[in-house]
C-alpha cells in the first residue's frame, strides 16, 4: 500500500466509473458502465482510510470485509480481494452493479462525511470482473457428499446463494425453476445494459461445476407439491426463494387497453424473450419508434422500463411519479443515468385514467398534480392530489411499474405455510423457518420486493439453518 497520510487520502477525489456516452448508449443494449481499469481501481482504493473501526461494514447487509478487500486492491492483489469478498457475498459481480450502495456500505463510509464516499461498489465490481476475465474463477471447495437432499425452489439470488452454500457443505442440491432460464429477476427483470446476462450465466455455470443440479420448466405447486418433494422425491429440506413476481396495477380506468403493459411484461418480453431482436426472436414488442411512452413509478423497475423504452426508439419517455425525486426508491445512479439519456421526469404527478380509442388502443393519459403532506407509514411524505389540477397528455404506450407482490401459487397449494396479510411467507427471522416442518424461505417472498443483496443474505442464512436442521433433526 502506498504511504499516504489520511489527509492526503481525503484529498483524492472519487474516481468516476467509465461510462458509455449517454447519447450513444440510449440507442443500444450494451452495458452502460464500462468499469474501472486496474490503475483506477488502485487509485480509488487509496482513498480508503483503512479505519480501525470500519463503519462501512455495518452498512453492508451481509457485512463484507470491505476494509480488507480494499486493502488488497491497493496492494494490487485483485484475486485475493475477490476471495475476501466471496467469504460473505456469493455474487459480487452482480451486487457491485446493482446494490443501492448510496444507502448501504457507501452511506456508512467515514469518507462520506468529508466528501464523496469510497466507491465500494465500483471496486467490488472491478475485482469480480477481473477474476472472471482472468479465467481463474475459483470453484469453491465441495465437501464429500453427505447423502442428504435439499430442494431449492426459484433460481433468483436467494435460491442461488442457498444452493451454493449447501452444495459446498456436501448436500445434494436441486434448484427448480418455473421459467426456461435461470436467474430470476436477474435475467427477466434487470436489463442487459445494467447487468449483462453473461455475468449471471457465469455464476450459474460455477454452481453447475460445483455439482448443483438445475431443473428449469418446473413449477413447484403444479408439477410437484411441496409434500411430494418430501415424500416422493426424497428431499430432506425445501427452501422457497420464489420472489415477489406478481405485478400490481393501479386499478384505474383503461388499464386493459392495448398499449398498456406491466413493467414485468415489458421487461420480460425484452430481456427474457429478446423481443428487441424481433423478428430474429419470435416474441414481439410494440415498436416504439416515434412514440410517446409513460412509465408510472419511481423505483428501479420504473427506471429499467423507461430506459428500455428509450432504447426501443421512444421519441418521448416519461417517468410519472407521485412523490418528489427525494422519495424515489430507485438507485441514485439509475436516476442520474436516466436523466443523462434523456428521460423526462414528471414528478408529483399521478395517473387518474387511461384513455383509449374505439378499437381499444391507448391514446392519452389523464394526470393530476400532487403535493406532499405528512409522512405516512413508510416514513415518506404522503402525496395528496391537488383538486382541479387534472390535465391530459397524448400517449401511445403506458407501463405500470408500481411494484410487485408475492406470487400466491405455492401458498395456494400448500395452505399450511403461514402467510402475512401482505401474502408474504412468515419465517423466523433467525432461522428462516416457515410454519411447515422442513420448509425454509427467504428473499422477496418473505420481505416483499427488496434487493438482490438482501435476498442473497437470506439464502445464505437459510443454508446455515438447513444444515443445522438436517444435522440435528431439531425443528
Amino acid at each position: 500500500m502506498s504511504k499516504l497520510t489520511p489527509k492526503e487520502r481525503l484529498k483524492i477525489p472519487r474516481h468516476p466509473m467509465i461510462e458509455q456516452d449517454p447519447m450513444e448508449r440510449s440507442h443500444n443494449f450494451n452495458e452502460v458502465n464500462l468499469g474501472y481499469t486496474a490503475q483506477l481501481a488502485m487509485a480509488e482504493a487509496d482513498r480508503c482510510l483503512q479505519c480501525p473501526k470500519p463503519t462501512c461494514v455495518e452498512g453492508c447487509p451481509v457485512h463484507i470485509q470491505i476494509k480488507d478487500f480494499i486493502g488488497l486492491i491497493a496492494e494490487g492483489d485483485f484475486l485475493g480481494a475477490v476471495k475476501k469478498i466471496k467469504e460473505d457475498n456469493a455474487l459480487p459481480a452482480i451486487c457491485g452493479r446493482v446494490c443501492p450502495q448510496e444507502e448501504q456500505c457507501e452511506e456508512s463510509c467515514v469518507v462520506a462525511k468529508r466528501g464523496e464516499p469510497v466507491a465500494i461498489g465500483h471496486l467490488e465490481r472491478f475485482v469480480a470482473d477481473y477474476e472472471r476475465n482472468s479465467g481463474k474463477i475459483e470453484i469453491p471447495e465441495v465437501k464429500k457428499s453427505n447423502g442428504k437432499k435439499v430442494a431449492i425452489v426459484g433460481s433468483g439470488p436467494a435460491g442461488l446463494s442457498c444452493a451454493k452454500d449447501l452444495c459446498a457443505k456436501g448436500y445434494d442440491v436441486t434448484v427448480f425453476e418455473a421459467l426456461h432460464e435461470l436467474g430470476g429477476v436477474l435475467v427477466y427483470g434487470i436489463p442487459e445494459f445494467r447487468l449483462p446476462k453473461d455475468i449471471v450465466r457465469t455464476e450459474i455455470d460455477g454452481l453447475k461445476k460445483m455439482g448443483v443440479k438445475f431443473q428449469t420448466d418446473t413449477i413447484i405447486g403444479r408439477l410437484y407439491t411441496i409434500d411430494e418433494l418430501f415424500e416422493e422425491e426424497g428431499f430432506d429440506a425445501v427452501f422457497l426463494g420464489v420472489g415477489a413476481g406478481l405485478p400490481w396495477f393501479l386499478g384505474i380506468e383503461g388499464e386493459n387497453l392495448d398499449g398498456v403493459y406491466s413493467a414485468n411484461e415489458f421487461l420480460t418480453r425484452v430481456n427474457l424473450m429478446k423481443a428487441y431482436k424481433f423478428p430474429e426472436y419470435d416474441s414481439p414488442i410494440l415498436d416504439l419508434h416515434g412514440k410517446n411512452v409513460a412509465v408510472f413509478g419511481g423505483g428501479n423497475t420504473a427506471m429499467d422500463a423507461v430506459r428500455t423504452a428509450l432504447r426501443l426508439g421512444a421519441k418521448n419517455a416519461y417517468i410519472i411519479y407521485r412523490r418528489s425525486e427525494k422519495e424515489m426508491p430507485a438507485r441514485v445512479e439509475e436516476v442520474k443515468h436516466a436523466k443523462e439519456e434523456g428521460v423526462q421526469f414528471m414528478l408529483l404527478t399521478n395517473p387518474v385514467r387511461l384513455i383509449g380509442d374505439d378499437e381499444g388502443w391507448l391514446k392519452a393519459v389523464e394526470l393530476i398534480k400532487m403535493e406532499l403532506g405528512e409522512p405516512d407509514a413508510s416514513g415518506r411524505r404522503r402525496p395528496i392530489p391537488i383538486e382541479g389540477s387534472n390535465f391530459t397528455m397524448d400517449m401511445d404506450v403506458a407501463i405500470v411499474a408500481i411494484g410487485n407482490g408475492p406470487n400466491p401459487l405455492i401458498m395456494k397449494t400448500t395452505p399450511e405455510i403461514e402467510v402475512s396479510k401482505r401474502n408474504t411467507i412468515v419465517v423466523d427471522p433467525e432461522t428462516m423457518k416457515t410454519s411447515k416442518k422442513g420448509v425454509f424461505a427467504g428473499g422477496d417472498i418473505v420481505t416483499g420486493g427488496a434487493t438482490v443483496i438482501l435476498a442473497m443474505g437470506a439464502g445464505r442464512k437459510a443454508a446455515a439453518a438447513i444444515d443445522e436442521y438436517i444435522q440435528t433433526g431439531k425443528w
Binding site: A178, L179, H180, Y188, T216, D217, T218, I219, R222, L223, Y224, G245, L246, P247, F249, E255, N256, L257, D258, G259, Y261, S262, N264, E265, T268, R269, M273, F278, P279, E280, Y281, D282, S283, P284, L286, E359, G360, W361, N407, P408, L409
Partner: protein
C-alpha cells in the same frame, strides 16, 4: 428437451401430437394447459392438454396452424423434440354433476373442450356435444366426442356435414325444443364464445368459456394475460383460463389479442418465405 413420440394431422392444418412429459401426464387435470417453446428463438405459446397417458408418460396436444409458431410446430414429426414444455398450468375445469351439460367446440376449440367433456361425463352428467367447423373436412375428434356424448351434433357453416349453420343456432334449437340445459361450456373463437354467452344469458343457464389471451410466462408474473371479468382484471393463466361467460368483456379480449397482428403477419410471411426457399434448395440438391 421433450420428445414427440407421435404426430399426425386430424384435418388440414390441425395436428395432434403426443409428447413425452411423464410428470405433466401424471399431474394434469381437465382444463389445464402447457406452455411450449420450440427452440432458442421461439416464443412461449399456451396449448391445452387434450389428453394424457400416464403409463406411456405422454401428453396430447392438438394444434391449429394459425401463425408462425403453430405452423412451425405443425411441421414437426415423431422423433423431433420441443425445447420447453411447462405445465400443467391454469385452474382445472370445475366439474360436478350439473344434470344436462352441453359442451360446445368451435374449430380447434373442440380439442380444448374434449377433456372437459370427458370429465363431465365421468361426473355423471347427461352430455350433449355440439361441434362446429367451417366445413366437413375441418371436423375433428368426431368419434372421440361421440364416445363421451349422450347426444352428439356436428354443425358446419357451409352445410357440407351435419347441421347447416352455427353452433349457436343448434344450441338455440335445443333450448327451443324445451330441453332443460343446466350447464354450457363453450370453447372456440372469441365471436363464437360471445355468441354462445348471448344465447344462454336470457335463460340464466350457467355458461363457462375458456379464454385465450396472449400469454408469456403462464405463472402470474407478467400480467399480460389479464382479462376483464365483471370489469375487474383477472390473470387467465392462474385465475382461469375458464371463466363465467356472462361476466367476460369479450371486446376487450378481442382488442388485446390483436395487439401484435402486424408483427405476427410479418413473422409468418418471413417464415413462409424461408420455408419456400428451403424447399427450393432441397429440390435443387435432389435434382443434382
Amino acid at each position: 428437451m421433450f420428445k414427440i413420440v407421435d404426430a399426425r394431422f386430424l384435418a388440414e392444418n390441425i395436428k395432434k401430437f403426443e409428447i413425452e412429459a411423464p410428470r405433466i401426464a401424471k399431474k394434469r387435470k381437465a382444463g389445464q394447459f402447457v406452455i411450449i417453446r420450440i427452440d432458442e428463438y421461439g416464443e412461449r405459446i399456451p396449448l391445452t392438454i387434450a389428453d394424457s397417458n400416464v403409463e406411456k408418460g405422454t401428453i396430447t396436444i392438438i394444434v391449429q396452424g394459425v401463425g408462425k409458431t403453430t405452423k412451425e410446430l405443425n411441421m414437426k414429426e415423431a422423433g423431433d423434440s420441443i425445447l420447453d414444455v411447462v405445465g400443467p398450468l391454469g385452474q382445472p375445469s370445475h366439474i360436478e354433476n350439473f344434470g344436462t351439460a352441453v359442451s360446445i367446440g368451435g374449430g380447434v376449440g373442440t380439442a380444448i373442450a374434449y377433456p372437459t367433456a370427458v370429465a363431465l361425463k365421468e361426473a355423471g352428467n347427461y352430455v350433449i356435444t355440439i361441434n362446429g367447423a367451417r366445413s366437413k373436412d375441418l371436423v375433428i375428434l368426431e368419434d372421440e366426442m361421440k364416445s363421451v356424448s349422450d347426444e352428439a351434433y356436428i354443425t358446419t357453416d357451409d352445410g357440407s356435414y351435419g347441421f347447416h349453420g352455427f353452433v349457436t343456432q343448434k344450441l338455440q334449437q335445443l333450448i327451443d325444443e324445451g330441453k332443460k340445459l343446466d350447464f354450457v361450456l363453450a370453447i372456440g373463437p372469441i365471436p363464437m364464445m360471445k355468441a354462445v354467452a348471448d344465447v344462454t344469458r336470457p335463460y340464466g343457464i350457467k355458461t363457462v368459456v375458456s379464454l385465450n389471451p396472449i400469454m408469456i410466462d403462464g405463472t402470474g408474473m407478467c400480467g399480460g394475460c389479464r382479462v376483464l371479468i365483471n370489469g375487474k382484471p383477472k390473470f387467465a393463466c392462474v385465475d382461469g383460463p375458464e371463466f363465467d361467460a356472462h361476466a367476460v368483456d369479450f371486446k376487450n379480449l378481442a382488442d388485446r389479442n390483436r395487439t401484435y397482428r402486424e408483427y405476427e403477419q410479418e413473422a409468418l410471411k418471413r417464415f413462409e418465405e424461408h420455408c419456400r426457399l428451403e424447399k427450393q434448395i432441397k429440390e435443387m440438391k435432389e435434382e443434382k
